[in-house]
Amino acid sequence: MPEQLVARTAQGGEHGAVGLRKIAIVPALNEERSIAAVIAEIRAADPEFDVVVIDDGSTDRTAARAAEEGARVLTLPFNLGIGGAVQTGLQYAREHDFAIAVQVDADGQHDPTQLPQLLAPIVAGEADVVVGSRFLGERNYKAPFVRRVGIRVFAAIISAVVGQPLTDTSSSFRAYGRRAIAYFSRDYPHGFVESVEATVIASRCGLTLKEVPVVMRQRLMGQSSLTLPVSIYYSIKVLVAVFVGIFRRSAYELKEDS
């Protein structure tokens, strides 16, 4: 049961879902074929969601398609990598005082009909960061064997580092509460495969993590951008980052009023 994964209880919490301002952050790089569908699905799943698309240096019509669909579009002047794009969205969420932000991939992997499960722990004040795990509950995640093993190995390492059992540290289907938005808008890992580092940072700076089961879909369009040498490079980079992170203090103090 995912409920058992709560290690600590988030302070405060957002009581009552009515009137909470929610935003979906959709980082996108050349996703003109899937972006409109993703935005429409988010709206269909929960009309209260604002959608902000972070166009991370696309060379196709991603930004135009997103704007046509009525999303807010932030166009970065050049590619920052997924970490920089997500952080841009979190800064937008902070400046416009959103209570909840969720990260939804632009390739259609994340199913917006599962947003209520993802938001529930934040609305209930049980967690600051909620991660949609592919390995909790109903398992039908189809991925190459090597990828699945890699995810498991990382999960074991990160669980040990943060002292809390986690099953899926690289899932980017995530929800953030106010405290997490405030912290991550200032300190978020750069580059690619940033979600693993973000998990460690969250736990180190005192944010409460919780996993909920989600089922991911096959991507609507395109292939995974990870080739084997690139995967190895990022694995090493993330392991070094996680190791150094253990000895690091938080960059910022979390303030209860932020």
């Binding site: 050049f78 580059g191 980079k237 150094v244």
Partner: protein
């Protein structure tokens, strides 16, 4: 290779590793720029400690005096780091140009919007 050279090289490599680690810990060095330095430190350390491997390697490439091989290798890695920096600087200057251009366009846009009000 004398034991003294080995010990000296090993200590130097460890100091390099410690400095890089501390720079990363205090957030003055990002992981992506630290990886080459860490690799440099590790390779020099391994070769300093494992003298058989260094001897074999220098023999293979025809270097009579193994410690020279260590220096050749270390300079090779420093060269790699420098080359890496050249690419990083190129990317940064390109992005800097893009930012300045974007800023100029935005300022112009802002002025137009203001004067219209």
């Amino acid at each position: 290779m004398t034991l003294r050279v080995s010990i000296f090289a090993a200590i130097a490599a460890l100091i390099l590793l410690a400095v890089v680690f501390e720079l990363m810990r205090s957030r003055r060095l990002q992981e992506r720029y630290a990886l080459l330095w860490l690799l440099t430190g590790l390779v020099v350390f391994v070769l300093a400690v494992w003298r058989g491997l260094l001897g074999w390697a220098s023999n293979t490439v025809g270097i009579a005096y193994p410690p020279s091989a260590l220096f050749v290798l270390a300079s090779f890695f420093v060269l790699m780091v420098l080359l890496h920096y050249s690419t990083v600087i190129s990317r940064l200057s390109e992005q800097n140009t893009a930012l300045a251009q974007r800023l100029a366009l935005l300022e112009h846009e802002l002025e137009q919007t203001r004067s219209r009000d």
